[in-house]
Amino acid sequence: MANVLVLAEISGGKVKKTTHSAVTFARKAAALLGGSYSILALGSDVSAVLGELAALGADKVLVAEAPTLEHYLAEHYAPVVAAAAGSFRVLVATASAFGKDLLPRVAARLDAGYAADVTELLSEGTSLRYKRPMFAGNAFGICRIESAVEVVSVRQSAFTAAEPTGSSSPVERLAVPAAGAGASRIEWVNLEQVKNERPELTEARVVVSGGRALKEQFYELLNPFADVLGAAIGASRAACDNGYCAPDLQVGQTGKVVAPALYFAVGISGAIQHLAGMKSSKIIVAINKDGDAPIFQVADYGLVGDLFKVLPELTTKLRALKDA
């Protein structure tokens, strides 16, 4: 059977948008394979999200519910996902913290190959090829997976979120297999969630990122600027490491990868690791006092200047423009 299984990411009783990117991949893969795609949802009670998942045009929505699946833990989730994926050609989820943590574990259980952070789906006949970034995005490898099930995580910014089709896919309940010994040695303690009223970094149309140069004025300067643009706020590693902002704002090779329509790099020099996380943005604007900073090599528009002067001016003038 050449069908595709999408692993849904559900958090706080909601379907995360990452799921919709994986569905986009699945639609393409199913079309290339001449098969269909299904969606798998795990949790202690996923009834609240079934309607949304069933509307995404899947052949089936597979559901595994158990008290042990209330909080995500790879040790409990991997056996369920592996059992469900066994009859599919491809298992896909988005390369979020969830997908990156879980999929390799599932792949090991299935004795399957795993392609991480895939940005493009290609094919040769009915055999799939996966393009994925390596060396901080300075090279791309095109690979094939030689195992009965092919396990793939996809980069969210490379696959636009799938729209609902208005379908109402049938729901099929799965038995939850017993977890292994490893599961008895791990316990979910708590999630210290960062409160964020802004758009999700990985989904925003506009991202404004700040670097070390902003110092303690990181939020003071970026908040009003982001407000006027309705933008998400990102950061360089240096800004996060110095404690000027929350670590979950980090954009880069090992942080979040974004590709918004408009990206502002403010006081960011443009280390290779940062570029890896934002180089695919449509329009890049760099503001930096060092005219030789590497960020200017990828920026469409570069403004050499003192950000402590430029940013307030830009914010004020943007607001005037929006209000006009």
Binding site: S11, A74, E75, A97, K100, D101, P104, R105, A108, R109, G113, A115, A116, D117, K131, P133, M134, F135, A136, G137, A139, F140, I142, C143, R144, I145, S147, A181, G182, R185, I186, E187, W188, V189, L191, Q193, V194, N196, T202, R237, C240, D241, P247, D248, Q253, T254, L262, I272, K279, I284, V285, Q297, V298, D300, Y301, G302, L303, G305, V310, L321
Partner: protein, 275 residues
């Protein structure tokens, strides 16, 4: 506590933009780039050292740190420098770079774990060449051990660890009982990220990883370094992911420098139509 740390060397990550792809797309050519330790693996080693000491007396190990690498003889440099930094013993699994992928390494580590029986396996969350982020998770499943990936904080308690994992929307804490596999993220080397049972909770480490003093570099030459063969630790391992070809990333066209805020707004509004 006994900790096994897996280390990899990578082509200089700060010059990763200098890798070349030949016209036929047959490989990623890293010629001219120096070998460096994978940064995340250096953090894993630092974490192992912090977990096996009292932070006030970092020269005394309370436990054992065994470092492992897979690769040709020249990768022993990576192991010797880990020994100089404070690891007790080293194992090199002899292999060519071409023979190795994540699954092969995980299978080999599983075999070593069965012999060494550590309480904890520590690795970096990803090697910054392949950028796959998988060995910890693969190994944990092969061993049926619990895993905590992307660790930003670790606090030892009796028989296990509380690990703060960096996830997309914050920090997720999990409690693990030994034996377990942990992969570390960037901020694990912050001054107050890792506490062993021996370290005063008020202790502050220096930011980053420690460096080996010169006498330790000399002494490291006498520390045990054992060699094993890949065929013995991962018999029959075969890569399930095969690279067909490689490509350079699309080049962004060089942009323009803008004189002032008014000109920038004009460009964004009228040329890029991005506002």
């Amino acid at each position: 506590m006994k900790v096994l740390v897996a280390l990899k060397r990578v082509a200089d990550p700060d010059n990763a933009n200098k890798v070349k792809i030949p016209a036929d797309g047959s490989k990623i050519d890293t010629t001219g780039l120096e070998w460096k330790p994978n940064p995340f693996d250096e953090y894993a080693l630092e974490t192992a050292l912090r977990l096996t000491e009292n932070g006030k007396t970092p020269k005394v190990r309370a436990g054992e740190v065994v470092v492992v690498t897979f690769g040709p003889p020249e990768t022993e440099t990576t192991l010797r420098s880990a020994l100089a930094t404070g690891a007790d013993r080293a194992i090199r699994v002899n292999a060519t770079d071409e023979q190795l992928d994540g699954m092969t390494v995980a299978l080999g580590l599983k075999k070593l774990v069965e012999t060494e029986q550590p309480d904890l396996v520590l690795v970096g969350k990803q090697a910054v060449d392949g950028d796959t982020n998988q060995v910890a998770q693969l190994l944990a499943e092969l061993l049926d051990w619990p895993q905590a990936t992307f660790a930003a904080t670790i606090r030892e308690e009796a028989g296990g660890l509380v690990v703060g994992r960096e996830v997309d929307d914050g920090v997720l804490s999990v409690r693990l009982k030994f034996p377990a596999v942990v992969s570390v993220d960037l901020r694990i080397v912050a001054p107050r990220s890792v506490f062993s049972l021996h370290t005063d909770p008020a202790h502050k480490y220096n930011e980053g990883v420690r460096f080996a003093p010169l006498p330790a570099i000399m002494q490291a030459r006498k520390k045990p370094l054992e060699t094993k063969q890949l065929a013995d630790v991962a018999p029959g391992a075969r890569a399930k992911v095969t690279y067909v070809s490689f490509e350079a990333p699309p080049k962004r066209k060089a942009g323009v420098k803008i004189a002032d805020v008014d000109a920038l707004l004009d460009k964004l509004k009228n040329e890029a139509k991005a506002l």
